[in-house]
């Protein structure tokens, strides 16, 4: 088996293990390339089906193409699509684009907090009706106790220290100094009531692995990753006020892969277009300890 096949196999094993061990399981889908690969791996793990809900946190500042693409795939692949957001913060305009808080605080409110209370079921959750294509209030208020997340170890420092199965306490906090041992393919799947778990099937994948796999499997990705003729494309997707496109002519998967491997993006950090990273002293640790992905 080659490198991509090995990566795929381990990820499938991890996703199946999560499905087996956690009754209230969901997968986070940010619409970006990594979590889309994760979604694809779930389809491979379950032979074309996705037997758990996909959760998307809508900050209201996502690039519109992302939302269109999300709903198109959700309909096509018959996903249980759940959307949540921090309505209160948005109503009170406590956001960076509205000028009331800084970038870090904005991330904390619209992402970390929205995620925390969407997972716990305390915020209103919306479910896509696959017949009508419209979102409706989801009656299920049960908290998710297992959350599959598409982070990669090569993204930044604190992510390189993650486990495949990572426990979080009731406050969603990450106790970095006391991570459980993870021997061979035996993961921590026994939990005291009240804790929940994040599962990271993509930990060993690099940015190039992701693109090569997208090419190999012909996975549809959102068009923002490609140059649309203006000499710009997104390398990493987020909210429009804080994510800048990069200068790049890459129009195809091959061109993107070439650019990352040998072209001008070789040795340039992937998240260099993300402004919130810079305000956290170069690491996302502060945000991530509180539950940021």
């Amino acid at each position: 088996m080659n490198r991509l096949e090995k990566l795929e196999s381990l990820s499938i094993y991890i996703i199946r293990e999560a499905y087996r061990e956690f009754k209230n399981l969901c997968m986070l889908w940010s619409i970006g390339k990594d979590s889309t690969v994760l979604l694809w791996l779930a389809r491979k793990a379950f032979f074309g089906h996705v037997p758990f809900p996909l959760v998307h946190i809508d900050t209201n500042f996502k690039i519109p193409e992302m939302i269109m693409y999300r709903d198109k795939l959700a309909m096509e692949w018959k996903l249980t699509m759940i959307v949540g957001q921090n309505k209160k913060a948005l109503e009170e305009k406590r956001t960076f684009p509205d000028g009331k808080v800084n970038r870090i605080e904005c991330c904390r409110l619209l992402k970390s907090e929205a995620l925390k209370y969407t997972l716990s079921g305390e915020f209103v959750r919306y479910k896509l009706n696959l017949e009508t294509g419209k979102y409706e209030i989801w009656e299920n208020k049960e908290p998710f106790t297992g959350v599959i997340v598409g982070i990669r170890a090569d993204e930044e420092g604190s992510r390189s220290k993650e486990r495949y199965f990572s426990p979080r306490d009731k406050q969603s906090e990450w106790d970095i100094s006391e991570q459980p041992p993870e021997l061979w393919n035996q993961f921590k799947t026994d939990f005291a009531p009240g804790t929940h778990i994040r599962i990271h099937p993509l930990l060993d994948w690099t940015e190039i692995d992701i693109w090569e796999y997208i090419k190999k499997e012909n996975i549809p990705v959102v068009s923002l990753y490609f140059n649309q003729g203006n000499g710009k494309r997104y390398r990493s997707l987020g909210c429009w006020p804080c994510t800048k496109p990069i200068e790049s002519d890459s129009k195809s998967l091959d061109e993107i892969i070439f650019e990352l491997k040998s072209g001008k993006l070789k040795n340039i950090a992937e998240r260099s277009g993300r402004e919130q990273d810079k305000e956290d002293g170069g690491t996302l640790e502060t945000l991530r300890k509180e539950g940021y992905m």
């Binding site: 088996m1 080659n2 490198r3 991509l4 096949e5 090995k6 795929e8 196999s9 381990l10 499938i12 094993y13 199946r16 293990e17 499905y19 087996r20 389809r43 491979k44 793990a45 379950f46 032979f47 074309g48 089906h49 037997p51 018959k78 170890a153 090569d154 420092g157 604190s158 390189s160 220290k161 486990r163 970095i176 100094s177 991570q179 459980p180 041992p181 993870e182 021997l183 061979w184 393919n185 035996q186 921590k188 026994d190 939990f191 009531p193 930990l203 690099t206 090569e212 499997e217 091959d254 892969i257 070439f258 491997k261 040795n267 340039i268 950090a269 002293g281 170069g282 690491t283 640790e285």
Partner: protein, 599 residues
């Protein structure tokens, strides 16, 4: 364009005693191979300047804030890096004893290891302990790096002395390192570039050595082993396939191959190999996570191992000898219930006997210890409630390694050395002891039997649909009652609300144990005791039979889950209440439990 899909990736762990320079070596390796993102080196240097601290290469890796402020590595980090030959994930493992579980975690995901020793401090406790753990984890590709050689003035004599001393130790563990390299990681000597300061050293640089490591590719040639991870049937999504999903640990299997599920012993042939977005496959090989469908449909559980009948089969045993490394917060003790996770199986396990504790830093052994303490390496005997499937460590590493879970935490890890045969199972031992101290009544079982006109029986109904077997059991109780039998039916929910109110989560093994003990008491009163248990397997039925001894059990299986026996009857009645009751009563008639005129 060059297609690099096939470029290999090797996981390497860097281990050694604290402060011997593991993170510095990796930092230097990254800098000298231009593997860092643009600006990273400059920004870390600037950060050091601003905080008036001397720059260290280790800061490039110690990403966590606590690590930077304390100058130590707390948890493993994965670092990606590549050479012309292949790609690497370097796993930077911490050297402090209190982070040993993190080191073991890192090493268990590696295929090669760099062992770092400080030339000045020499071989320390963790240099040896890490060496020992690497041998237990089974890493064969090992290079030893003697770092900080500048402090001892690049002295060849000292290098040779350390090499010999350490080699003596490693040879006792059957570790033969690929080589020993004298380096000064801070200055980059012999890391990527050959050092000019050590003319006496003609060997390879560290980079050259790791590039020459060879990956082991033997798993395909070993007998086929696929632990069942799950069984899927997505009927709700209009999919009627019943797929046995799993990752192949070793070997190859093809369509039409005859397979055996262990420990249940059920045999059939592979019908199809299942996957998604792929062309139809005819074989499934080591490393693949796919699925199979079977020619015969029978009941299978997660944890069973699919093997081929044409090949050597694994061991199936409930008592076995292991090497165990303990890292739990509490010691491992006798009499306490633990869980063992091996392959995809999870069973209850007890510590049966400590053979000896090995001191990993000098390899001396200590007998007479009564518990296994944190960071101990022990050779011991474990006993599971049900037999488990495994290979011997020397035959197949992947299917011989296990972890031990204490409450909620993985607290130990190890490898199975050999099964121990002719040992009594935990249950047999317990029953023997229980019957020995059982307070005998003045009323004998015969007196009760003649009073009630029946011999006591424990009747269990099993199947997949709990409502249906409950309904049949209730009706059976009524029918037996109507003909004057002294009978009692207990449904599982009744047990759960009272006798099992101490369960925080449902514990199936304990549930079955309690039913078995309860049956022993109820049948001792002379009654016919009826209960239902969903998806009973062969070992659970054996457990109930043992626990109910000396009284008799009769099991009716409506799903064809069990192997038929003198006291196990398979009823292919499709859960139809009347037909099932008729068949059951016929069997009871044959066993003289009821008389002919009642049917």
């Amino acid at each position: 364009m060059e297609n690099e899909n096939n470029k290999d990736r090797l996981n390497i762990v860097v281990v050694g005693h604290v402060d011997h320079g593991k993170s510095t070596i990796i930092g230097r390796l990254l800098v000298d191979t231009n593997s860092l993102p643009k600006g990273k080196l400059e920004s870390v240097k600037k950060f050091c300047e601003k905080n008036s601290r001397p720059f260290e290469y280790a800061f490039l890796l110690d990403a966590l804030k606590d690590e930077q402020s304390q100058g130590i590595t707390i948890d493993i980090a994965r670092i990606f890096f590549k050479t012309n030959k292949r790609e690497y994930i370097i796993i930077d493992a911490p050297g402090h004893i209190e982070f040993l579980k993190n080191m073991v975690t890192g090493a268990s995901h590696a295929e090669a290891a760099v062992l770092v020793i400080d030339a000045n401090e020499g071989i320390q406790e963790n240099s040896k302990r890490h060496g020992y753990l690497l041998s237990m984890i089974g890493i064969k590709n090992i290079v030893v790096v003697i770092n900080k050689i500048d402090i001892i003035n690049y002295d060849e004599g000292r290098f040779k002395f350390l090499k010999e001393e350490y080699n003596n130790f490693l040879s006792k563990l059957n570790i033969l390192p690929y080589s020993y390299i004298p380096v000064c990681a801070r200055d980059g000597d012999n890391i990527v570039f050959k050092s000019e300061k050590m003319k006496w050293y003609n060997g390879q640089t560290l980079l050259e050595v790791i590039d020459s490591f060879e990956k082991e590719i033997v798993d395909e040639k070993k007998p086929f082993r696929m632990p069942v991870q799950d069984i899927y049937k997505f009927t709700a999504h209009d999919d009627d396939r019943r797929i046995i999903a799993g990752t192949v640990e070793s070997g190859v299997a093809r369509i039409d191959d005859e397979v055996i599920f262990l420990p249940s012993g059920k045999k059939t042939q592979i019908k199809t190999i299942e996957s998604f977005n792929e062309t139809q496959q005819s074989q499934i090989i080591a490393g693949m996570s796919k699925g199979i469908t079977l020619k015969t449909q029978f009941y299978i559980k997660r944890g069973e191992v699919v093997c081929k009948t044409s090949e050597e089969l694994p061991c199936v045993a409930h008592t076995f000898k292991v090497n165990l490394f303990w890292m739990g917060r509490f010691p491992m003790i006798y009499g306490k219930k633990y869980k063992i996770k091996i392959n995809t199986n999870r069973e209850i396990v007890y510590l049966d006997k400590i053979l000896h504790i090995i001191n990993a830093s000098d390899l001396t052994t200590e007998e007479n210890k009564t518990q296994i303490e944190r960071y101990d390496v022990a050779q011991c005997v474990l006993k599971t409630l049900k037999p488990i499937v495994f290979d011997l460590y020397i035959k197949n590493q992947k299917t011989s390694r296990f972890v031990i879970v204490d409450e909620y935490d993985i607290s130990g890890g190890g490898i199975i050395l050999e099964p121990i045969k002719d040992e009594k199972s935990i249950v047999d031992k317990h029953v023997e002891q229980r019957e020995f101290i059982w307070e005998k009544s003045i009323i004998s079982p015969q007196m009760r039997a003649s009073r009630f006109g029946q011999s006591p029986k424990f009747i269990v109904l099993t199947g997949t649909f709990s409502e249906k077997i409950d309904e049949i059991a209730k009706n059976l109780e009524k029918d037996l009652f109507d003909i004057g039998k002294n009978v009692y039916y207990l449904g599982s929910p009744k047990l759960l609300s009272g006798l099992e109110s101490d369960f925080t989560t449902f514990d199936r093994e304990e549930h079955i144990r309690r039913i078995g003990e309860l049956a022993r008491i109820l049948t001792d009163t002379g009654i016919i005791f009826i209960t239902t248990i969903v998806d009973l397997d062969d070992f659970e039925s054996e457990l109930l039979r043992s626990l109910n001894k000396p009284n008799e059990i009769i099991i009716f299986d409506l799903e064809n889950i069990l192997k038929a026996k003198d006291d196990i009857f398979i009823l292919n009645t499709n859960y139809d209440v009347d037909t099932t009751l008729y068949k059951i009563k016929n069997i009871l008639l044959n066993k003289n439990i009821i008389m002919e005129y009642y049917i």
